[in-house]
């Protein structure tokens, strides 16, 4: 770095420069550490209170117990809501990933008239507040007299997930060397074979990331769901509704479980790719 190898001139300027480096060196990680603590405090709280021997409400610490974890479905409706969220998440993710990937391919690979308009159409749902999206869909469902429930929630989730899938996959497609598809065609692959044998495998990590993102958005969504679910209950809705009478500790169990599961899945994936990278380098 310049501070050590740099100027021939000895004196105040280089010294000052060196000192400010050290200050920044220490300051930024400290700020970041504080920010991480801020991010994790409520999660620690949530996890801790999943072990609370709660009576009627889970507001005050009453002692440690395993029983909430042993019987996570103990509270009425909590597991049903959780199952609902999982099925909505899976179905919406599947649909949104397929539709969004196709759109992303069209946008990234083809120059056609109206492409800017399609880009705008994809961007708009992302730049519309959830409350507006929810209200708009509800206005439509009401006027068409559609029965609110599982499928209206799925329809709404697919709608806002598509945009995120498009953005994620499009970035991946744009990062792909177009010569690869040409090389496939040059090596006697039909357009379908070129897609299936070359493009798709290379896009897969991006598509998987988009699916993961979709699922997490869908699973965590409350506002749009609240507008379009009728009496159908998802996990976030369950927590919101029961907040007034006190959230059962089983909800904390499920929240903590999802956090740990997500952490574990991503960390295992990281470790695997890390190990693979090492093997390759060796």
């Amino acid at each position: 770095m310049s501070a050590t190898t740099g100027p021939v001139v000895r004196g105040t300027v280089p010294t000052a420069r060196r000192r400010s480096w050290h200050l920044g060196d220490a300051l930024i990680p400290v700020l970041a550490a504080l920010a991480f603590i801020y991010l994790l405090v409520p999660i620690v709280y949530t996890v801790a209170f999943s072990f609370n021997d709660a009576g009627k409400s889970n507001l005050v610490w009453r002692g440690f117990t395993w029983k909430n974890w042993q019987n996570p479905c103990g509270a009425p409706q909590v597991c049903e809501a959780f199952r609902n969220s999982l099925s909505v998440g899976v179905v919406a993710t599947l649909i949104a990933t397929v539709i969004g990937t196709l759109l992303a391919l069209a946008l990234a690979r083809f120059a056609f008239r109206g492409r800017p308009a399609v880009n705008l159409l994809v961007f708009l749902p992302m730049s519309t507040p959830e409350v507006v999206l929810g209200a708009a869909l509800l206005a439509q469902f009401l006027s068409l007299r559609v029965q609110l429930g599982f499928w209206t929630v799925v329809a709404a989730h697919v709608m806002f997930c598509i945009s995120f899938v498009v953005v994620t996959v499009k970035a991946r497609v744009a990062g792909l060397d177009p010569a690869l598809e040409e090389a496939a065609a040059d090596l006697y692959a039909s357009p379908f074979q070129a897609f299936w044998r070359v493009t798709f495998p290379l896009l897969l990590p991006g598509i998987a990331a988009a699916a993961l993102l979709s699922f997490s958005l869908s699973f965590d969504d409350f506002i749009i769901t609240n507008f379009n679910s009728g009496s159908f209950t998802t996990f976030p809705k369950f927590v919101y509704v029961s907040a007034t009478r006190g959230i059962p500790p089983q909800a904390n169990v499920i929240g903590s479980f999802m956090f740990v599961a997500a952490l574990a899945i991503v960390l295992v994936a990281q470790l695997v790719s890390h190990a693979r990278g090492k093997r390759r380098a060796g």
Binding site: D177, A179, L180, E182, A183, A184, A185, D186, L187, Y188, A189, S190, P191, Q193, A194, R197, V198, P201, L202, R280
Partner: protein
């Protein structure tokens, strides 16, 4: 010729325009089977577009493409008996080297895929790397895998798009010889696109110099070098000294041309234009410097005097710049047979060269066209 063989590639009046930009302009080209053909030109001259039209990656706006005597103009890339070595190599990053090489064979459901892959990898001396992924290869190795992946399919035409552009100079030299060896060994027709004139001349039997969507001149490298037909070819292929002059007469097989104050003689069969204004050309290494008191040998053209304005020593030779009044700057390369520079900066010299090395071009063109330009793209 005892028999007429079908040419490997025939382009007939091929034109390609992108919007209002004419990339390839009414191109006719015939490449005999088994040859190593180079398409040489600066970037943007249309050579890569031509290659892509042959590969089927680009559709000509008009004209016909025939490969092995068959009209393939309407066929898409995967239906053409052509393989390409891409500039970026375009190795499939998710497949092993062996699977990359096997890709084309598998698409065409060939037999003995493994044996053919091994043979191709052995040919490029990478037989031991079949199980690696492309990211684990060096640039030179990746280049050779790309070559093996194309060659293994025994295409009627092998297209090489600036295949050595990404390699460093030393590796490039080595690969030039290697490519030539492989071409001789497998006997395929190679079409090689490059902007590097040295590369084209080293490897190809026939070089076509392309400029602004047209072929300026085509022929064996020696012929192109010694008898360029345009200022562009004279400047792009090696370096040339071009001086404007007027044809004033004829003396047997020689044209008399006044250049500056002097009269030089140009063999008629080496002149494109034989009347009016012409450009008289000579290669820098053909010129000798005459210092005060030295007389030229007979049958030599002489211009000058001029002043030596630059002397640079390059090892095998010394390069001089000589400023001649009314004619501009001449470059002179002189072999260092006896040591270093024989003339110092500021010396007054005359320039002399044998008449037989003189060539004459049409005077109606820019003498600097195709010359190296610092501001131009490489």
């Amino acid at each position: 010729m005892p028999e007429v063989t079908t040419p490997a590639l025939e382009l007939m009046s091929v034109t390609k325009s992108f919007g209002s930009f004419l990339a390839v302009d009414d191109l006719d080209l015939t490449i005999p089977a088994g040859s190593f053909f180079a398409l040489l030109g600066p970037s943007g001259c249309g050579k890569t577009t031509t290659l892509r039209m042959v590969a089927g990656l680009e559709q000509p706006t008009s004209g016909t493409v025939c490969i092995g005597g068959r009209d393939v103009t309407g066929d898409r890339a995967h239906r053409r008996p052509v393989n390409t070595v891409f500039q970026s190599y375009a190795l499939f990053p998710h497949l092993t080297i062996a699977d990359n090489v096997a890709f084309g064979l598998r698409r065409r459901r060939q037999h003995d895929v493994d044996a053919k892959v091994k043979e191709a990898l052995d040919l490029v001396e990478l037989g031991h790397l079949g199980e690696r992924k492309p990211t684990q290869l060096s640039g030179g190795q990746a280049q050779r895998v790309a070559l093996a992946r194309a060659i293994v399919n025994r295409p009627e035409l092998l297209l090489l798009d600036e295949p050595l552009g990404a390699l460093d100079l030393k590796l490039r030299r080595q690969m030039q010889l290697e490519l030539k060896r492989i071409q001789t060994e497998v006997g395929l027709t190679f079409v090689h696109v490059t902007h590097d004139q040295e590369e084209a001349m080293t490897m190809a039997d026939t070089v076509a110099v392309m400029n602004k969507g047209k072929i300026e001149q085509m022929g064996p490298p020696e012929e192109l070098y010694s008898r360029p037909h345009t200022a562009f070819v004279a400047n792009f292929l090696g370096q040339s000294n071009l001086a404007p002059g007027q044809v004033v007469g004829r003396e047997g097989d020689l044209l008399l041309v006044t250049v500056g104050g002097a009269t030089v003689k140009v063999p008629v069969d080496r002149a494109v234009a034989t009347t009016g204004s012409v450009l008289v050309g000579v290669r820098p290494e053909k010129i000798g410097l005459l210092i005060e008191g030295q007389e030229p040998s007979p049958n030599h053209n002489v211009v000058g005097p001029g002043i030596v304005t630059d002397v640079s020593f390059t090892g095998v030779s010394t390069q001089y710049q000589v400023e001649v009044e009314h004619l501009g700057t001449f470059g002179v390369f002189s072999q260092n047979l006896l040591g270093g520079a024989t003339v110092t900066l500021g010396t007054k010299v005359r320039l002399a060269w044998s008449q037989e090395f003189t060539f004459g071009l049409d005077g109606d063109q820019d003498a600097a066209e195709g010359a190296a330009d610092l501001d131009a793209e490489p």
